[in-house]
Point group: C2
Chain length 444, copies 2
């Protein structure tokens, strides 16, 4: 390798001091998910192309695999890289249904790939953190509340800007439109979903032309879409619009249960709102739908999203309903690093650098390091026996807070806190860092 | 999705109870690496195909990526999935050299992909755990000893069959052959590398025909290759063969330093031997070479391997020497699961199932769960208010050891250890599991 490589657009990579922050984020998410009983799985990176392209709409973004230098027919593997974690999870559930216990709570933190044009927050390789609960044949509605609560708790622990969970319910919208008498309910949902890009007047015209609504019906649809509150008062406001429908009632009850059920986990950092404009384009959602937005980063669109799907997977005989939320780890962290919102973490896990007096005494320095590591203190030994001043600067450049000078015939061992300059005699079998005890590995 | 999918050959996936073991293995490896100051990085899954195929010999195994349904010229991305973690790491070092501190210790635990024929221990997607130390322009020999020690310590903590590190040194072999006067030293190394597949007589004939050795020289090569000891006595045995060469001397000193340097970390579980037959086929090794074999699983060939390369990477002006070892996580664990050597771990992280009296009291059960989780005890609430017997069996099927019966108007809360049947009154703000305190997340 004799050339200097350049970064690949759409494939962001982190420096060690950024990766240490991402690892802490992932460890924190994992810990919250596990505290709630979610088991971790990893699926392979590839799926048969025909399974990936079943949805139809995103075929162009799939990376297909072929074996290089095999002749064309043998080379085409029929496989592609997954573009999310939902398709492989649904396949995993079907493939292993006989060996899983339902309801099955799982979390999965892995990369996915899409061949789309890279932009801020949209990458060709990106890491997602997904939680889902899947039932066999049925899945109680209370799991909708559970999944939202767990993700609120998980994201609340992360060093992110303020987050807003904006929740709606497909039954509520569909029931309202049906109760209004709009001829094409599905088309109406699709038009309302455009409200974040087009003015209300334009959407109104589309409701009339595309969904067959009267101008009066269109106005009521727009009125519904303006309702956005952080408590259950939306129920009364919707009822005041005078539409009656059984599905609407059910949607109102469910959405109120989600908002009410989260009241003790929301904070100044993470809020939950009913926002009756949220629809989510994908057809498979059947109840709760939600998107999560980050304050000051509305340009990224949602940083997390999900909802209830009554048929996550089906093998023809058995149907597996699910509810889940996907958080975009790369979509969130990479822009926050670029902006300097997230400060880099330690460049190395080492808390202590053991200095080296001369090459002959390397074993003595190694013995100090071994004693410290045995007590969980991450330690490295200086690479060469430079002057102590140089060894201290070596530690400074890496952000290692302590330098240990091993005992010699003339002196006992001493440890220097290079942030304060304080230096004290110390024994590697008993000494403990005076300040925050860094752990060699992020907690969890 | 209405069909029942079948597994893809060469792409093994784990059940949740196996994945929990793999996660503990990875957490334990990470912890040991970090205790020694190794920083974690992750590289993207893809590299430009021309970088991947520079070695030349393994082109056929590379999976190349093209965007599906794009026209042919636009679809070919010029990218392929990496087939190991060394090529992307070398590229990462070159790309970020100005931002890294050298010597740079890094570990990386990620999947790699090869399109080769699947067999036991050889998969098309497999996870590797690599450690490397890389210097700029130079890297002290003592880092060879360090890397071997760290991997010995790391693997010693894993629940694996006995492991044998078999170490050699390229300088030793090359110097010996040169000192013997063999015309083509490189060809001779290549023939000796066949000793695990061919009888000694056949290899002797090849040494004569392919490397230009005399029959007497070939005998001495074979004699060297039979030396295998767990201490530094190989030095005397090689010297007794009467060959003199400066490079040979250096190789003997280095190999003795590795074996001697590991004497305090070896155990009954992990041993380190000098085995003068180990050569490793790849050309880029220049000093220490090693392979690790697992007792009873010799059919897998080595489960780890590595060595010293004087030019891991170079941008034409600066050269980056390195020393590293790669451990095959999938190659090791997947066969051990299949054989039943590795027992499955917990199916779910939950330690406690909070029973549900009736749907109306779900909030009371949730409050118990919240109190337990606050104290780090992973907890789930029963999905539906079945009879308590059914709820207990639900916990049993998942391997959850404790069932909590929340307080009612008639009774205080009680917790049942379903392994012993013991049931006691308990307060969720103070109760602690009586036996091993499982952590919600593997330690580290």
């Amino acid at each position: 390798m004799t050339d200097k490589p350049t970064p690949l657009s759409g494939f962001p990579e982190l420096l060690p001091e950024q990766r240490s922050v991402e690892r802490r984020v992932i460890a924190s998410l994992s810990r919250t998910f596990e505290l709630h009983g979610f088991a971790n799985i990893e699926t392979r990176a590839v799926e048969p192309v025909e399974r990936l392209s079943k949805g139809g709409e995103i075929d162009k973004e799939i990376y297909a695999l072929r074996r290089l230098q095999a002749d064309d027919s043998a080379g085409d593997s029929g496989l592609g890289l997954h573009f999310d974690l939902t398709v492989p999870f649904a396949r995993y559930v079907l493939e292993n249904a006989g060996k899983l216990e339902f309801p099955f709570r799982r979390y999965q933190i892995q990369p996915a790939w899409r061949g789309e044009r890279p932009q801020e927050g949209r990458y060709r390789q990106f890491t997602q953190a997904d939680i889902d609960i899947v039932g066999r044949d049925e899945l109680g509605f209370h799991h909708d509340v559970e999944v939202v609560r767990v993700m609120v708790e998980a994201l609340d622990l992360l060093p992110l800007p303020n987050l807003s969970f904006q929740v709606n319910n497909r039954k509520l919208i569909q029931g309202f439109y049906r109760g209004l008498g709009i001829p094409d309910v599905t088309a109406a949902i699709r038009q309302i979903d455009k409200l974040d890009k087009q003015p209300a007047d334009a959407v109104k015209a589309l409701l009339v032309s595309e969904a067959g609504a009267t101008p009066e019906q269109a106005d009521r649809c727009l009125e519904l879409a303006t309702i956005r509150v952080s408590d259950t008062s939306f129920v009364e406001r919707v009822k005041a619009l005078g539409v009656e429908d059984g599905l609407l009632e059910q949607g109102l009850t469910e959405l109120a249960a989600v908002v009410h059920g989260c009241r003790d986990v929301v904070s100044g950092h993470v809020t939950v709102e009913a926002n009756l404009r949220i629809a989510r384009g994908l057809d498979y959602y059947t109840g709760t739908v939600l998107e999560v937005f980050m304050e000051g980063y509305e340009r990224l669109k949602s940083v997390a999203g999900g909802g209830r799907y009554d048929a996550l997977a089906s093998d023809g005989r058995t149907t597996y309903p699910g509810v889940g939320i996907s958080f975009g780890v790369s979509r969130t962290l990479v822009p926050l690093f670029a902006d300097g919102f997230l400060a880099p973490g330690p460049k190395v896990p080492s808390q202590v650098l053991v200095a080296l007096v001369d090459e002959e005494s390397r074993e003595a320095s190694e013995r100090v390091a071994t004693a410290l590591r045995r007590r969980g203190i991450a330690t490295e030994v200086a690479s060469s026996a430079q002057k102590f001043g140089k060894q201290i600067r070596y530690a400074e450049r890496r952000g290692i807070p302590f330098v240990w000078f091993p005992a010699t015939d003339q002196s006992s061992g001493e440890v220097k806190d290079i942030r304060s300059g304080d230096q004290q005699p110390a024994d590697p079998d008993t000494w403990t860092p005076t300040e925050e005890q860094w752990s060699a590995v992020p907690p969890g």
